[in-house]
Amino acid sequence: MAVIELKALSKSLGGRKILENVNLTVSKGEFYSILGPNGVGKTTLLRIIAGLLKPDSGRLRVEGSVGFVPQSDLLLPWLTLRENIELPLKLRRLEKREIDERVFRATYLVGLDGNLSLYPRQASGGTRRKAAIARALALGADILLLDEPFNGLDVSSLTSLRETLMSLKGGVTVVLVSHQVYEVAYLSDRVGLLTGRPAMIRVEEVLESLPLEKKLLKINNLILGLPGDKEKE
């Protein structure tokens, strides 16, 4: 069942056409990754799916509750990590007990076992990303939109965040934007390449259930513009 459906979607920003005729379908529980060069419109596309931007034309259907984790994690610096996760729940006037339970569950799911009383600037990049994901999960998101979550992480934070996402797989639907080929291959069921000016999703590849080397190869070929399947013969 498709929980995200974009049909012939277009968007201009600052008088320039960024996205044109974008088609994308993501099924429930699927892990979909978007690859594409800098400035092509990946963030713009995620913001449209998150409902933060209105498309100029085309159809957009999103079924479920969307949690957007932006490129900069957008945690409020004057609140601790815990308070950051709690605040949107408080704004929704949930009861204290319910809030505590949700925060516990979300931080457990993302493996945020460290100190939640840290302020964002005291926490590592990886911990901040996990907190931002936990914030979305605590709000009841069953669709996660992740914008370059691995950016600027050291190897151990990156690995830890990757395993966190792996453990979430299947339970939530994920749309990931990333330049990290290995992480994309490791995690994704399907990948799409967003290219061109204006940009559209030109090629998609199904990775599901392939061995990891095959996935990596497919993504490499996708980026290089080689035909994905016939290459091996």
């Binding site: 409020l76 004057w78 600037r121």
Partner: protein
Amino acid sequence: MEIHLTITGFIVVFAAVLLTWLASSIIWPEIMPSPVESLQFTAERWRTLLSDSLITLENTVLGFTIALILAIATAWAGLAHPLARSVVDALNTIVQSVSALVWALFFLLLFGFSTNLPSIAVAGATAYPILLSGILKGFDQALVDYGEAAALIGARGRSFLRYVLLPASIPYIVASSRPALGSALRISVVAEAFGAAGGMGYRLWIFYELHEYRGFLGWALALLVMMLLLDKTLLEPLERWSRKWL
């Protein structure tokens, strides 16, 4: 090291002032009392000095608080609509240009000469424009920095003000509070001098009228010390605290 230098600077200035004072008391003995005479006179009347300081402090802080609330309300109203914002910007430009003397005389006309109201109102009117421009800057920056975060967590309307806008603007609010409170204190004394039921300014004026220059100089010095104490023990630490997470 740095703190030592700061203290050294203050000591040098104070020494220079005392020396000048001493010298002028020798040159014009009929007018200028010596520092020792002046301090002795003041110390003997410490109860009056204390009550005057408290009145002035109360007037200033009250006026400042009212101005702070009004400035936040004004800046908040400016976010409602571009038209409202243009009105707020115009208001900001205009109030920046009104002289404190005009405010003082205006509030004296309005409230009369025998209450603290003119002093409070003048303190507020002086603090308001300084606070308003600081808060407007803070709100604008907060919108740029945290507008999207607010949308993401569903902070709208009053919760946006309370949980995002105000905390994000605290560094700006505190930074403008320093000069605002300083100006308010300096000018509320002027209003007290023109007519009030007490306070540092009131007493300064009385001493001047009575040609009691020992008291005049003592009270002037006390006012200066009060200003410095307020700044160093309250406002400066507050400003440092507010930049903690920047």
